[in-house]
Symmetry: C2
Subunit: 417 residues, 2 copies
């Protein structure tokens, strides 16, 4: 009996790896163009970081974390998201001393112990950007534009942008009171989870996906009608920057995100045809998080997108992936006796910088040619008894099937053609 | 109080990321040249995989694994090494059907809950290669040559190659008997761990780093004098391939590695000046592992190297890292009123494919120029009231400090120079 890959996770196999290279290279290229630099934080953190950072009553913290002890029994958690670790690293490494505004990106795995379903994995990959140290609405707009540029360069079309403001510490308190008041006499009709949310964190009710709760939420008071002056004008500035850049977006006053740290701008990018898990990315401003994690008050804004969902969306939109460049040379041997000469030749070819391989399975010449074809080799060098006695090998163009005898000593010259 | 990075782990900061890009790109380039394709397995596996794969009495399994339950209570473990997961993926995805010999590589984090010390981290990165499906001694040689090529292209010098054969299921049983017999009357002088090893897995005694045990091991019978005919000739073939390629190596008959799965060839690559943790990579043949994990008998050979130690070795040998290419354009504004125009210009420049940024912190022009210098911008575009009224901006060469007024509409032409 084989041991299987853990439930909710998947192997990325060699036949799919080019897709990942393509997306990862594109992300790095675009983010560098926008002035972001990569940071890599460990894949686990002290559990406290996420409880304080993401919020005690979020789904992530209450039921989706992989948690385990270190040698001394201190609780560690596989990172379920990238922002809290980046802010931890920002504070620990005193990055505020480098520059007032710091622009970082990350690219790597996140872990959530969710029920596996289409488009949801327990280990999944995200890229994310964080602009730390500015309250400027232009930064919010930049974050959205950056992400859209990544999607665009990957060829993704028909993306819908949802945008909202979830207010700040000040105006949100008033709104939550209003929302609670509205929900009070409807409490019995809420789902059991939302009943709890009503007490602990009523804003989370807006995020419920259950139909019964959705109906109640539909006519609830909206946060955008309850913003303070500062949040209001920040929100309209962000929208005006986007309009100026001819970006079409929709306001969704019920959009809050699954993390407690957002303030002011919140946004989500939707790709049609992804089914229930149609968000391919989202983000927003988090002006209080740095302070909550022990730093000075420091405004910030960011974004994260799931790579697996981007791949699904690209496949659904039938966008072509780059094709694999085959091997340059396959070295074949007529029989096993010529193995050592073949190996020597193989290393000689590789040392010129060309990619080359041979078959280590003692297969027949025919089977070796099959392998050469399968791996897309452009040329084959065939080492045979008869030719060797004349210091020659057979040089075969795998596409045209033309072949000729060449001197072993000339093989490198021949290959540079 | 800040929350710190977990003990034994580290952040890879933007100022160091280029080192990682350099090494990772080099690894991918060389491994592709040798015909290896990347596979990415999840960062955790069912714990069983490592117990069965690595060996119950190894240090890794007995004391270094990070283990935690999934939702249903099944035990998961962060991968402490890459070979067992690759073999799991090989079996689960029936890769034997694709080709008789499969060549894979991986590149990513491993996790061991060790006592942190110089060069040892609880999350560290490895690249590794695996050739699955061949018993050919040429494959053993290729693995060693591949790795040496990676080190060479990175500029590493003065590497020492240690090589040994640890025999096969057959001849090792006899050797272990002999070793046990030798150790029997010296048991009292072994360390407490080795006393246990003596009972559970006497071969592991050879791996003990304690001086008292080392002395006893020094004159113990060696495995290479007890190899069966097949292992003997396999070992001399490997050595002959290496000699043929002018590779200098040392035989170390006491070299066994920290994992139970090795058979026949075992090797290690040492870089002077790394202190106690001087091995920068190692590997060997593991002809029984595929079968032990539930597959058909399938010979295989592989290698793994720690990236952090490669970086330390490169720094110690004072090898130059590639230098960062600065930003193309920094857009500055004379005052905040010109912010929107500056932002519009910034996006226009980015849309041409150039890298560009501005300052979102409302700093003075002087402070903006400081930032532009710090991030190594080649040019600055300065947006000022006076020039704007004429539809002009100032275009400044940050190196020569020369500047001139140019028409906004001509800015893209100017930049393409």
């Amino acid at each position: 009996m084989f041991i299987k890959v853990p439930k909710g996770t998947q192997d990325i196999l060699p036949e799919d790896i080019l897709k990942w290279y393509h997306i990862e290279d594109m992300i790095k290229e675009i983010l560098n163009k926008y002035g972001y630099k990569e940071i890599r934080t460990p894949y686990f953190e002290y559990t406290d970081l996420f409880i304080r950072g993401i919020g005690e009553s979020t789904d992530i913290v209450t039921k989706e974390m992989f948690t385990f002890p270190d040698r001394k029994g201190r609780s560690l958690t596989l990172r379920p998201e990238g922002t809290a670790p980046v802010v931890r690293a920002y504070l620990e490494n005193r990055m505020d001393r480098i520059s007032k505004v710091i622009k970082l990106f990350y690219l790597g795995p996140m872990f959530r112990c969710e029920k596996p379903q289409a488009g949801r994995f327990r280990q999944f990959n995200q890229f994310g950007i964080e602009v730390i140290g500015t309250k400027s609405s232009a930064a919010d707009a930049e974050v959205i534009l950056t992400v859209l540029d990544v999607y665009k360069k990957l060829g993704l079309k028909n993306l819908e942008i949802l945008i909202n403001s979830v207010g700040c510490k000040k105006c949100r308190v008033d709104y939550v009171q209003k929302l609670k008041k509205y929900l009070k006499d409807k409490k019995d009709f809420l789902c059991s989870e939302c009943k709890e949310r009503y007490n602990k964190n009523p804003l989370r009710v807006l995020d419920c996906k259950k139909d019964s709760c959705k109906k109640i939420i539909e006519i609830a008071p909206v946060i955008t009608e309850n913003l303070c002056q500062e949040c209001e004008s920040h929100f309209s500035e962000v929208k005006s920057y986007l309009n100026d850049q001819k970006i079409v977006f929709h306001e969704d006053p019920r959009l809050i995100r699954g993390l407690d740290y957002y303030t002011k701008t919140a946004f989500e990018i939707i790709s049609g045809g992804l089914g229930a898990q149609n968000a391919i990315g989202g983000g927003g401003r988090y002006d209080d998080l740095v302070e909550e994690l022990g730093g000075k008050p420091t405004p910030a804004v960011g974004f994260a997108a799931g790579i697996e969902r981007m791949i699904i969306a690209i496949d659904q939109q039938k966008i072509k992936w780059p094709v694999e460049k085959g091997l340059d040379i396959f070295v074949a041997k007529v029989n096993e006796k010529n193995k050592d000469t073949a190996f020597r030749l193989l290393q000689k070819i590789r040392n010129t910088g060309l990619s080359a391989d041979m078959d280590y399975s003692e297969g027949s010449l025919k089977s070796q040619m099959r392998i050469a074809n399968k791996i897309g080799a452009r040329y084959a060098v065939i080492v045979g008894e008869e030719e060797l006695s004349k210091n020659m090998v057979i040089f075969r163009n795998m596409q045209t099937k033309e072949q000729k005898e060449i001197k072993i000593d000339n093989i490198i010259d021949e290959l540079s053609l």
